[in-house]
């Protein structure tokens, strides 16, 4: 999908924060110099085409429960099976295949720390693979947004 200048500007301006006020899209429209209806239409179309995963709140995971990054080294011929088991385990919300001996990386979540440990133990037992457990010790920066270099995009 080709994005025009206004779409790009919209993403640049509001990918980190949008105004949480009475009429947020109207406030955005003033900044962009276009009509409120156009802001709404553009957001809808960017969301429909999945350029935006959503327009809305990003919740602080640690405030809603416990979570942990874990990894396993799945034998190459079993990777699909292992990945499917991980995806089916309760609380898994991310699972990425990565090019490394530790080839499956996932985030397990739970309402509290005890449940989290139980879920990890249960999954580790089911997979019969040692699990690398990598809790966050310190967070230096979380900003799932970063400056988009539009010219470099394909």
């Amino acid at each position: 999908m080709r994005l025009d200048t206004t779409d790009r500007q919209l993403i640049n301006l509001f990918q980190r924060d949008l105004p949480v006020c009475d009429r947020p899209y109207q406030a955005m429209s003033r900044q962009l110099g276009i009509a409120e209806e156009e802001v709404i239409e553009r957001l809808q179309s960017l969301q429909d085409s999945q350029v935006l995963s959503r327009v809305g709140p990003v919740f602080e995971h640690s405030r809603a429960g416990a979570s942990l990054l874990a990894a396993v080294a799945a034998p190459e011929e079993q990777i699909d099976l292992v990945a499917a088991r991980i995806n089916h385990a309760p609380g898994v919300n991310h699972n990425y295949a990565r090019e490394h001996t530790y080839n499956l990386w996932f985030v397990m979540t739970a309402p509290d720390e005890d449940t989290l440990d139980e879920r990890l133990d249960e999954l580790e037992h089911q997979l019969r693979l040692p699990m690398l457990r990598l809790p966050m010790v310190e967070s230096y920066h979380i900003d799932l947004a970063f400056d988009i270099d539009w010219e470099s995009l394909p």
Binding site: S53, P57, F59
Partner: protein, 171 residues
């Protein structure tokens, strides 16, 4: 232990209405002129109360931000590199902060080592439209770390097998 610059109130307790509001908005806000009014109708609350609760959760740090969240992969950032570094323990807090400040690093954490299997204690995520772009960003991180770093590697993602945001379950 965690270093956070965002204002937050760790004691803020989510009420039942807050939870309902999270459930109603975790897939996104209504794209209509009066989103709070529409949510209010859904939840049986006045529009002002919806907005006030939303603002309160944001001030308390329960909501980190409200944004038009791009899908970087869809935008063309096909290369996601998890760069991992073995940084001296006495230097890691300072180094973590410096790496976290690089504009292209989307998140940066300290995690435990698991010797002898895993020696990396600093994780920094970078994105690129091609392999070289990620390598170039990793060398900029290496330049920051200098001799505090004894080794590193980049784990490229080859497939996204599952990705969902935070989901509260209906209880």
């Amino acid at each position: 232990m965690s270093i956070s610059t965002s204002r937050s109130d760790p004691d803020y307790v989510l009420g039942e209405r807050d939870r309902q509001l999270i459930l109603a908005t975790q897939e996104g806000l209504p794209l209509v002129s009066d989103p709070w009014g529409k949510l209010g109708k859904q939840l049986g609350l006045p529009a002002d109360e919806v907005l006030v609760r939303f603002q309160r959760m944001q001030e308390a740090g329960v909501i980190r931000r409200v944004a038009a969240v791009p899908d970087h992969y869809r935008l063309g950032y096909r290369f996601n590199g998890m760069t991992v570094w073995d940084v001296r323990d006495d230097a890691i807090t300072d180094m973590g902060r410096q790496v976290g400040e690089l504009p292209f690093v989307s998140h940066c954490y300290r995690r435990p080592r698991h010797l002898p299997y895993w020696s990396y204690n600093l994780f920094a995520m970078v994105h690129g439209t091609n392999h070289d772009e990620v390598e170039d960003k990793a060398s900029q991180i290496q330049a920051v770390l200098g001799n505090t770093c004894q080794g590193h590697t980049i784990l490229y993602s080859s497939a996204i097998l599952k990705k969902t945001g935070l989901r509260l379950r209906k209880t």
